[in-house]
């Protein structure tokens, strides 16, 4: 958050610093992943976790690790990375430090689509929600972007207002559908809280292609996002096709965020928090920021998930609720700094 940290340093010391940060980040992420494999209502010692991973361990502990926690951790890694990168791109494209997948109406859109589908088609399993969540999220985002467009440019105020309005309407429609049918309410409220539990890794298969396209787009436009940060006119003068970069960035955000909602339900704040955390460490250069979010996103998500599992043991707290609780104060602090 301390933007002054982006002071130019000599090439070599920056490279060293970057390497150290990268190693530290990867170490922290591995630690979180290990904890995610070990912690839960049935704590498993790390030695047993290792044994279960490398050998074919048929003990109850080993089955818990390989059958439940490995999928959960893998999903957490993928979803966290997608949300982190989506947030970084959203903030870069809109030049608004408070932009995030949540503010773009993605969660509300996915929620409404899934709840409607549960109601109308009598779905009973998160794996069946996938395409509805994806479609709802993508449509809502496109709608908010359309509202916020003004003469080819994205107005940040319109973006915030449009996102808020659309999210409020969709949320109230979601409540209406849930109130109209008890079965839908009972089915949907757990999904709506956002969770990594009870999913197998094959739920990732259908979204692999959109995720891959989203990640590639994000990395391709990252140099252009740096130019965009200087203002549209400067970027244009530097030869950056501003409108195309915006469109590509918007597409990347939609693909990444919609895929993650589809897999794990609405998770707020990872997309907002990860870019800020990384920016504080490596500065504002998007060529470092976006790879950084690839580590910071899953780090935050897995940490929140582990916390949710140990906090109220033996029951567990949905990770979406944990991230919302942790994220709210963070957003407040950010808002204090942004709006002087």
């Amino acid at each position: 958050m301390d933007l002054q940290d982006a002071r130019p340093a000599t090439g070599r010391s920056t490279a060293v610093r970057g390497a150290v940060l990268l190693l530290a980040g990867l170490a922290a992420l591995s630690l979180c992943a290990a904890l995610s494999l070990a912690a839960g209502s049935r704590p498993v010692p790390l030695g047993t976790v290792w044994h279960a991973l490398v050998a074919d361990d048929r003990s109850p502990d080993g089955l818990v690790v390989t059958g439940l926690r490995v999928p959960r951790t893998v999903i957490g890694l993928v979803v966290g990375a997608a949300l982190g990168v989506a947030g970084a791109v959203a903030q870069g494209v809109t030049r608004n430090p408070l932009a995030s997948p949540t503010t773009l109406g993605i969660n509300a859109g996915a929620g409404f689509a899934v709840v409607t589908a549960i109601y109308a088609l009598r779905l009973t399993h998160p794996a069946q929600y996938l395409w509805f969540a994806f479609a709802g999220a993508a449509l809502a985002t496109l709608a908010v972007l359309a509202i916020a467009r003004r003469a080819g440019d994205l107005d940040p105020v319109r973006l915030a207002l449009g996102g808020t309005v659309l999210a409020a309407v969709l949320t109230s429609w979601t409540s209406a559908v849930m109130l109209a049918s008890h079965r839908t309410l009972d089915e949907a409220r757990f999904w709506l809280a956002g969770s990594l539990a009870g999913r197998q890794t094959d739920i990732l298969l259908p979204v692999l292609a959109p995720l891959a396209i989203g990640f590639v787009l994000a990395f391709v436009i990252s140099p252009a996002l740096n130019a965009l940060a200087l203002g549209d006119e400067t970027a244009q003068a530097l030869g950056v096709p501003v409108a195309k970069v915006r469109a590509a960035g918007g597409l990347a955000v939609v693909l990444l965020a919609a895929s993650s909602v589809a897999v794990a339900g609405p998770l707020s704040f990872i997309g907002l928090a990860a870019p800020h955390l990384v920016r504080k460490l490596v500065g504002t250069d998007h060529r470092r920021l976006i790879p950084g979010c690839l580590i910071a996103g899953p780090l935050l998500l897995l940490a929140a998930d582990v916390l949710g599992r140990v906090l109220l043991r033996p029951t567990e707290l949905e990770v979406g609720i944990v991230t919302a609780f942790l994220g709210a104060p963070m957003l407040a602090v950010l808002a204090r700094k942004v709006a002087r």
């Binding site: 509202i147 309407v169 429609w173 209406a176 609780f325 407040a332």
Partner: protein, 355 residues
């Protein structure tokens, strides 16, 4: 949208006076029209239902005249619901109007900055603890004030700036929403349903005790708002002119905001956080009647009442599904309005919101 207030205040005097007179006529006309609409809606609300009563008889029965059965039906069963909608709609609209003007931000509304979210949390906590539902309004008020305290603690930094207030408000709102969500996930299905009903905003099953207490509090709040209108008008001139006129801008702003928060919480205690009434009605009134004056503040109250009552009638009679909360309708009706207004007026506002 609120940026309009600034140029009006600085407009050259002669034109200003003529425009003001025209606006006053327009406001008066609109007030009469909305008042008539409100009476019609009131009569409709009291007369329709399982046992229909003629609209005029229903109004008479409300005053205690006519057939004893009709009087009981109207007074005991229908009036609390209808009056709760009227009072809460007026309170929410006035609170929203005050907030938007003090904060000079079209987004500043109790549902955006967390006040009604706090009220929801209070109410849901009561539902969770299983104590008598008569505590719900009090808990909702407490929750609204809690949100206001959080908001003040986090947004105060040697003064309040507008953008910070709204952004911090969004943060408070999302934290409180997460807490409500936690309850909804943990509840058994029936409780989750009634909690959801409450947090979407509903006038179903109000009784006279609630209407009497909540109603008098809301009316007192609206009266206070009307009395405080001079300060609002002075603040509209900008901080320096206000200071020159002997008004400490920050203190005045804080008092007015606090009043708006209490008003919104009390109104939300009565009906739940009915969405968009507080956000949309001030914009609608500004669109119809022009820049804010004392008269338009009164008009705002009437419009809020008419909107919420009308939305409740839609819920009762026009929707295919029964028992939906009125907040669904207000959100659906309010959002397009807001979006259209945004399209039309975003440009002049960009500067003031960026401050």
């Amino acid at each position: 949208m609120n940026a309009q207030a600034v140029p009006t205040a600085r407009a050259p005097r002669p034109r200003h006076v003529g425009a003001l007179a025209r606006q006053r006529r327009r406001t008066a006309l609109l007030t009469v029209a909305v008042l008539a609409l409100l009476v019609v809606l009131l009569a409709l609300g009291l007369s329709t239902g399982e046992v229909p009563v003629a609209p005029l008889d229903a109004l008479r029965a409300l005053a205690g005249f006519g057939d004893a059965g009709e009087v009981m039906l109207v007074q005991d069963l229908r009036a609390p619901r209808v009056l709760a909608a009227v009072v809460a709609g007026a309170g929410l609209a006035v609170a929203g109007s005050m907030m938007q003007r003090v904060a000079r931000n079209p987004l500043a509304a109790p549902d955006v900055i967390g006040v009604t979210g706090g009220a929801s949390l209070g109410a849901v906590a009561v539902i969770a603890s299983g104590v008598s539902a008569t505590w719900t309004p009090l808990a909702a008020l407490g929750g609204g004030l809690l949100a206001a305290v959080l908001l003040a603690a986090l947004a105060w930094r040697g003064g309040v700036t507008v953008t910070r207030l709204v952004l911090v408000g969004l943060a408070v709102q999302s934290g409180l929403a997460a807490a409500v969500n936690l309850f909804i996930v943990r509840f058994p299905a029936e409780l989750a349903s009634s909690a959801l009903q409450w947090t979407t905003g509903s006038v179903y099953g109000r009784n006279w005790t609630e209407v009497n207490i909540g109603g008098s509090l809301v009316l007192a709040g609206i009266a206070l708002a009307l009395l405080g209108h001079r300060r609002l008008a002075v603040l509209d001139l900008g901080d320096e002119p206000a200071g020159a006129l002997g008004l400490a801008p920050n203190a005045a702003r804080l008092q007015l905001l606090l009043a708006a928060v209490v008003l919104a919480s009390v109104a939300a205690a009565l009906t739940g956080p009915v969405g968009f009434v507080a956000l949309a009605v001030p914009h609608i009134v500004r669109f119809l009647a022009g820049p804010p004056t004392l008269g338009t503040l009164g008009l705002t109250a009437l419009c809020g009442a008419a909107l919420l009552l009308g939305a409740d009638l839609v819920v009762l009679h026009l929707l295919p599904v029964h028992g939906l909360p009125v907040g669904v309708v207000t959100a659906t009706l309010g959002a397009p309005w807001l979006l259209v207004l945004m399209m039309r007026q975003m440009k002049p506002n960009a500067g003031s919101a960026a401050r």
